[in-house]
């Protein structure tokens, strides 16, 4: 780690009182943890003592002083999961991953094992969360499978086989002209074609018409995190509704699904938020 790379973060806050936690949060979002060199830089630059900063960094569970593994597995040890065998599940994970204590990471930096005190889904306990995917009613014999699937990548969806994925046909909510392009296939199905603009750029975008697939094709690459404006290629109206993304607050892009429903996708590149609203009345 190059200590100078945290300087802009520290300087941005101009040594304002109460900014320490924000600084640490930003450093952690950049490195995934709080490197000791970074804490030293924060101490030198803010004039605080390292021991105080270390105290804050160890006080909050959200801060980590060691890098996390590629995958995070979290077993629930809340009361309900505890009585249903949470501790033996945690132990099994520790044994199979070769981790001595929860909170630690495997030497190959693949897995970090953590525990949590109740996820609010006690009826499904004991619960294990792996990379954001919930596994309910876990038994010790499932631990091996969970580790295996996590290693393979739980976000990988088999577009052709997964039954959560189905094709939709959409139209512009203003001119009602279909947005489907049967001549150009994405994921083996007719694609949805819209025009997009972001910053100075302007171009076309093809989306997979499979609901639940995130495959897109673009004329010019949209940087991750950018909010794009979507337009109907026929009436040139902007596809914009009244609602914002629940996950990232960017405006949602509405499209009419044949049969009366409305599908909304988030306009931010990389945000996977989308929803299908079955009894929505047409947006204006």
């Amino acid at each position: 780690m190059n200590p100078t790379s945290v300087l802009p973060i520290v300087e941005k806050y101009n040594n304002r009182r109460g900014s320490l936690i924000s600084i640490l949060e930003e450093i952690q979002s950049q490195y995934g943890y709080l490197p000791s060199e970074a804490l030293q830089v924060v101490a030198d630059r803010t004039g605080r003592s390292l021991v105080d900063i270390y105290g804050v960094a160890t006080f909050y569970k959200a801060f980590r002083l060691k890098p996390r593994g590629k995958h995070l597995i979290c077993t629930c040890l809340g009361t309900a999961c505890h009585v249903r065998g949470g501790p033996s599940i945690a132990q099994e994970f520790e044994g199979q991953l070769g981790i001595k204590r929860t909170g630690e990471t495997t030497p190959d930096k693949e897995f970090t094992l953590e525990t949590v005190m109740c996820l609010g889904a006690c009826a499904l306990g004991p619960i294990v969360v792996a990379d954001g995917h919930y596994f309910p009613n876990v038994t010790t014999s499932q631990v091996k499978t969970i580790i295996g699937r996590t290693r393979e990548g739980l976000d990988k969806i088999e577009v052709q086989k997964d039954k959560r994925i189905f094709p939709v046909e959409v139209a512009c909510p203003r001119c009602n002209h279909t947005l489907m392009d049967p001549d150009h296939l994405v994921d083996g199905h007719p694609s949805i074609r819209v025009t997009v603009s972001f910053g100075e750029e302007h171009g076309w975008l093809r989306l997979s018409s499979l609901y639940g697939s995130y495959t897109i094709e673009t004329g010019s690459e949209i940087p991750m995190g950018t909010i794009a404006h979507f337009f109907c290629p026929h009436c040139h109206a902007e596809l914009i509704g009244a609602s914002n993304c629940m996950a990232c607050e960017a405006p949602m892009v509405p499209m009419i699904v044949q049969g009366g429903a409305i599908v909304q996708i988030c306009s931010r590149r990389g945000c996977r938020s989308h929803m299908l609203d079955l009894d929505a009345t047409a947006v204006t």
Partner: protein, 225 residues
């Protein structure tokens, strides 16, 4: 100047002083552990509890951190205070039975039993060492880390600190690291060897308003106002 009454004795002290200072000015003894002159008040041990206010709305506060208020009524040795203080000492005895300072305090304040599991901890988290290091030694070498039952004191990353000058100030001030008492019956925290005489009225009903703070007992000269 702020006027208040401590154990019904009127006193006026400078704004910003604490109840502890006002009580010490009048000569009422209040035991302290985490409060040391020259270090900022921290309020960690709660041993210096006093009762402020009257009747049902009265509450226990730590006098070393509570600033005086106009018209405040303070009782430094009401039955509630004595009970709370004894419980605090009993708990401290449970966690650090080998601290001579805690042993002596417990003995001086009539703690005659120890019902908690003995932990043989070496720290009561009073924070004196960290304040000593920061405020008097100007070293900022040690401080609190972690949270809840993982809270400990140490240097950042628990490695040798470049800031520490090995002055020994932290060890000097620590109530748990000092000369350990080895008592004659290790399974009991209180060996009884240091027992003091206790004021007899403590156990009597309606003792609340009598407030014995004298040790040894001088009978209840100061009545309720």
């Amino acid at each position: 100047m702020i006027k208040l009454k401590i154990n019904a004795v009127p006193v006026s002290v400078e704004e910003g002083s604490t109840i502890l200072e006002a009580a010490q000015f009048l000569g009422f003894p209040i035991p302290t552990l985490c409060h040391v002159e020259g270090l900022s008040p921290y309020g960690a041990c709660r041993l210096c509890v006093v009762e402020v206010g009257e009747g049902a709305r009265s509450k226990l506060v730590s006098s070393c951190t509570y600033p005086v208020e106009e018209g405040l009524r303070v009782r430094t040795a009401s039955a509630r205070v004595v009970r709370a203080r004894k419980m605090i000492l009993e708990l401290m005895l449970g966690s650090c039975p080998q601290s001579k300072i805690i042993q002596d305090l417990a003995s001086a304040y009539e703690v005659r039993q120890q019902r908690f599991k003995q932990e043989y901890e070496t720290c009561i988290l009073c924070g004196l060492c960290a304040r000593m290091c920061t405020e008097q030694m100007m070293a900022h070498a040690i401080g609190f880390q972690g949270r809840g039952d993982h809270r400990t004191l140490g240097t950042p990353f628990n490695i040798k600190s470049e800031k520490c000058r090995l002055c020994g100030g932290c060890i000097y001030i620590c109530p748990a690291c000092q000369l350990r008492c080895t008592y004659t019956q290790p399974e009991k925290a209180i060996c009884g060897g240091c027992a003091n005489l206790s004021p007899p009225c403590l156990e009597k009903p309606n003792f609340d308003d009598m407030m014995c703070y004298m040790s040894p007992c001088v009978a209840c000269e100061i009545k309720k106002d």
